[in-house]
């Protein structure tokens, strides 16, 4: 039995269905990310686990204990689940020290030592303890919120888009620091986010959510390279989706013969490649001749953006694929390093590495 189990959890607000019956299992000590576009129901799910609201149907158990079953629910303050909200939700009327110590009993001995210790753990300077929340930067506020939640030694920590208010650079470093910290403390963590990169890098298990249901649950790699459907594929990153004919572990596609991750045989199928699987090599029109099994393209656009360069490539000699009209002359959009990017009008040779994923 898993540490946290949700089965058939459903919640509606009037006519709006927020959750349509969700199942999820979270192992002890693991990190799970729930990712989905805004309004998909992920925050509602988090609120149900935290106990801020009760589900209409379904069961939530934590470590074998039933937290919610149908309408009956253990209230939030008896669950011992830590929550870090989107913007920290620090108490504006209390100092940082009192914010961190909020969940501790006032009489708890070593209260002050523990507050200092927690501040240290989350990387806060001791000097900020006397300040008020509004005097802190966004990143510091998040650290306080984390320390406050950790103070009550929760078995489960819920993070509700805690990094979304931070700058891009700070976001990545905070994410890594928090992940390591919770790992060390052995706290099971669930992160809710709409940022797919955050979900993939943070978690050991990712659940993609849409319209109140999980589209797919699995490891980050599984989800990225073997998404169940087009929506999951595109949600987690750029995807090149092509019509193909598959047989014997290979696909015949507009990009030629590509290895796929299935042995089955199908005349009409769709395959997915991540753009980074396609390599470009500079050549010239002269270089194209006499190499019929190779694939060439012309660069029609190139947008330089510093480290990355977005390149549009129109295929010049696509082997005749099934329903080729579907892609026609639509150029492939690829991202390459900014250094040594091809210029518009240049001819490039395309090669595919790794296997393409076949949608069921």
């Amino acid at each position: 039995m898993s540490f946290l189990e949700l089965s058939g959890v459903a919640k509606s607000y009037g006519p709006v269905t927020a959750l349509a019956g969700v199942d999820l299992a979270v192992e002890s000590g693991s990190r799970t990310a729930i990712v989905g576009p805004s309004g998909c129901g992920k925050t509602t799910l988090l609120r149900l686990i935290a106990g801020f609201e009760a589900p209409d149907r379904g069961r939530i158990t934590l470590d074998g204990k039933v937290l919610a079953n149908g309408g009956a629910a253990v209230p939030a303050h008896r669950r011992g689940i830590g929550v870090v909200a989107q913007d920290g939700a620090l108490f504006p009327h209390l100092s940082i020290a009192d914010n961190i110590g909020f969940g501790m009993a006032r009489s708890e001995d070593r209260r002050n030592e523990r507050i200092v210790e927690l501040a240290y753990i989350v990387g806060l300077d001791k000097a900020v303890l006397k300040r008020r929340p509004h005097e802190l930067s966004g990143g510091q506020q998040q650290r306080v919120a984390l320390a406050r939640a950790m103070a009550m030694k929760p078995r489960l920590m819920l993070l509700d888009e805690p990094f979304s208010a931070l700058d891009t650079g700070l976001r990545a470093s905070m994410r890594k620091a928090v992940a390591e910290l919770l790992e060390e403390a052995g706290i099971t963590t669930i992160l809710v986010t709409h940022d797919q990169a955050e979900a993939l890098s943070f978690a050991s298990q990712v659940a993609v959510m849409r319209d109140g249901l999980f589209s797919q649950v699995g490891t980050p790699r599984e989800l990225y390279f073997q998404p169940r459907d087009r929506m999951v594929a595109e949600f987690l990153g750029d995807a090149i989706i092509l019509p193909a004919k598959i047989a014997d572990g290979f696909a015949m596609s507009p990009l030629g013969r590509i290895a796929v991750d299935t042995k089955e045989r199908r005349d009409v199928a769709r395959i997915m490649l991540r753009p980074e699987q396609i390599l470009l090599k500079r050549t010239s029109r002269e270089g194209m001749s006499g190499t019929p099994d190779m694939l060439f393209g012309e660069v029609t656009d190139c947008e330089f953006a510093g480290s990355v360069c977005t390149v549009a490539v129109r295929l010049l000699n696509s082997p005749d694929p099934p329903d080729a009209a579907a892609i026609g002359n639509t150029p492939l959009i690829l991202r390459k390093t900014g250094m040594d990017a091809p210029a518009v009008g240049e001819i490039v040779r395309l090669t595919v590495t790794g296997k393409a994923h076949v949608f069921a």
Binding site: R47, A50, G51, F52, E53, P75, A76, H77, R78, R79, G80, I81, G82, V83, A85, Q86, D87, G88, A89, L90, F91, P92, H93, L94, F102, G103, R132, P133, H134, S137, G138, Q141, A145, R148, A149, A151, M152, A165, L166, D167
Partner: protein, 560 residues
């Protein structure tokens, strides 16, 4: 972070007028760098020395005007000090340190100490029920909790005394005061409750606090500002009210000052009572500043707050309904029943239309003229308090608030004496009474104006300047125009105050003046309650729209 803030502020921007030229594509939505760059460009002209010189000029005129008005506002206070010095210490001591002053002090202090806490508890309970619970009809109850403001305090008292003729003393005073003034606490508390970020309550619950402790440790502390402000307002009204306590025979400083005034006109005894009363007011003001502290209770962080959940009352619904229903019955039902009863008893005979229409017209005239004057006087101070704040400005501004906090009887007494002794041509003139109103109600106008000027970004003024308007014209075409709704709001508040003003009006009014409040007071003084009833009804009818507007405004300020 910085970028986020800028994006946040953009919500305050106004819809652009219809463009006839194709607009430029939006500059990258939430791209922080783009916003940062734009704002850098915007600010460059202001750094040029020539531009700054031009900007300074209206500022200095306005500062001068604001300083002048603030100093003039100090007249009543200066007068009290002057009288004390003139009277000589021995007489002052004899007039202040006597048993009667002690009695009045005990009465007044007890009244404030008992009334304010009861009003706080009642208002918090009502605000919570109407804003945070699923009480049936909570919008109605919310309005009914504000509506008692439309009834002048002395009409409340009149209603109660006709219903329970023997009502008198401290507890009667507390009862009627709570009923008449609790909306001053309810309004800010309800608004604060609406604004509270529910995420904080969730966070506290997740940290292991039960609902009651969440309320005590998270919700209540965040209501502190609202409670402080509301309590101050109630406290000052308790100190200043006259009519209410006369009906129920409870002597406070204000009633005693009026008694002395009626016995000796502007004798030193009245002025020394006024001095003690002023000290009480200043004490309350200082106390509020101390308790409030320099706190910030706004939401930390960005993004919109989640919509609050309402607590389910379940089986407690019925008992909970009893509270707002009971309060509505006492605060609205009693005056309604009494006034109706007297109107029925009086029949058509009490509707002396010639008298009533004259009083109505005069009241309206005084209210409108006073409101315009107070708003004009508040404009310079409001402008510099937003555009050029500083220590001197804060000092000047606080002068206005202190004088506004003084009871009308004190201001009126000072003006009567000053005009009689020094400026006789102004004695008993329209000018003096309007001047008195302006002093008394300036803070009302100031608060509304400030809020609305704060909403008009200075960039607009600069943009207007850059489009070729002179500074004053730029000010007129942007800030003044945009703050017009706030100015109107302030005027309405002042007009409401003047409509229901009694003591200062009686002391300052030019010969032949008879306002609604004066007529009401004169009839009820002769126990002709039936003849007083139409005036009570008209005052309530005039106040209702303004109270409604206040209610709507408080909802809007809270963003819901």
């Amino acid at each position: 972070m910085f970028g986020d803030r800028l994006v946040d502020d953009s919500r305050l921007r106004f819809d652009p007028p219809e463009w006839h030229i194709a607009p430029l594509p939006p500059a990258g939505g939430g791209d922080p760098a783009a916003c940062l760059m734009q704002s850098t460009i915007d600010m460059t002209p202001a750094r040029l020395p020539a531009a700054r010189m031009k900007e300074r000029r209206p500022t200095s005129w306005i500062t001068l005007a604001a300083a002048l008005i603030s100093l003039v506002a100090l007249l009543p206070l200066a007068f009290i000090v002057w009288v004390a010095i003139q009277t000589g210490w021995d007489t002052v001591a004899a007039l202040i340190f006597r048993a009667r002053v002690g009695e009045l002090l005990v009465n007044t202090v007890l009244l404030v100490l008992v009334t304010v806490p009861i009003a706080i508890v009642l208002s918090v309970a009502l605000a919570w029920l109407t804003e945070r619970s699923d009480l049936p009809g909570n919008r109605w109850w919310s309005w009914l909790s504000v509506a008692p403001l439309a009834i002048p305090a002395f009409v409340h008292s009149y209603a109660w005394i006709s219903l329970v003729p023997g009502l008198h003393g401290l507890w009667a005073g507390v009862l009627v005061s709570v009923i008449a003034y609790f909306p001053f606490l309810y309004l800010p508390i309800a608004a604060a409750l609406r604004r509270l970020d529910p995420a904080l309550e969730d966070a506290a619950a997740a940290l292991g606090l039960g609902p009651w402790r969440v309320f005590a440790r998270v919700v209540l502390p965040q209501l502190r500002l609202a409670i402080c402000g509301g309590s101050l307002l109630v406290g000052l009204h308790l100190l200043a009210e006259y009519g209410l306590y006369v009906f129920i025979r409870f002597d406070t400083f204000t009633t005693a000052i009026v008694d002395q005034f009626q016995s000796t006109f502007n004798g030193p005894a009245a002025n020394m009572l006024a001095a003690v009363l002023v000290v009480c007011c200043l004490f309350l003001l200082a106390l509020e500043v101390m308790i409030r502290g320099e706190e910030r209770y706004a939401r930390v962080g960005s993004g919109a707050a989640r919509k609050q959940q309402r607590a389910r009352l379940g089986r407690a619904t019925l008992p909970c309904l009893l509270l707002p229903a009971g309060v509505a019955l006492l605060s609205l039902g009693v005056p309604f029943v009494t006034v109706s009863r007297w109107l029925l008893a009086g029949g058509t005979e009490v509707w002396r239309w010639d008298e009533i229409s004259l009083a109505l017209g005069q009241t309206l005239f005084l209210a409108i003229a006073g409101a315009v004057l107070a708003t004009l006087a508040a404009m310079p101070m409001a402008w510099i308090s937003i555009r050029a704040p500083g220590p001197l400005q804060r000092l000047l501004e606080s002068c206005n608030y202190i004088v506004g906090a003084l009871p009308g009887v004190v201001t009126a007494l000072a003006l009567v004496t000053i005009t009689v002794r020094v400026a006789l041509p102004l004695y008993q003139t329209l000018f003096t009474i309007l001047f008195g109103y302006a002093l008394m109600f300036l803070p009302r106008a100031l608060v509304s104006l400030r809020a609305s000027i704060a909403q008009a970004p200075v960039e607009l003024e600069r943009a207007a300047s850059s489009l070729g308007r002179s500074p004053v014209k730029a000010l007129w075409s942007t800030t003044v125009r945009l703050s017009a709704p706030g100015a109107a709001a302030g005027m309405a508040m002042v007009a409401l105050g003047i409509t229901n003003e009694l003591t200062a009006t009686q002391m300052l009014a030019p010969n032949g003046t008879r306002t609604l409040a004066m007529a009401f007071w004169s009839y009820s003084g002769e126990i002709d309650y039936a003849s007083a009833a139409p005036y009570a009804l008209i005052m309530v009818a005039m106040s209702l729209p303004m109270t409604w507007w206040l209610y709507i405004q408080s909802k809007r300020m809270a963003g819901r």
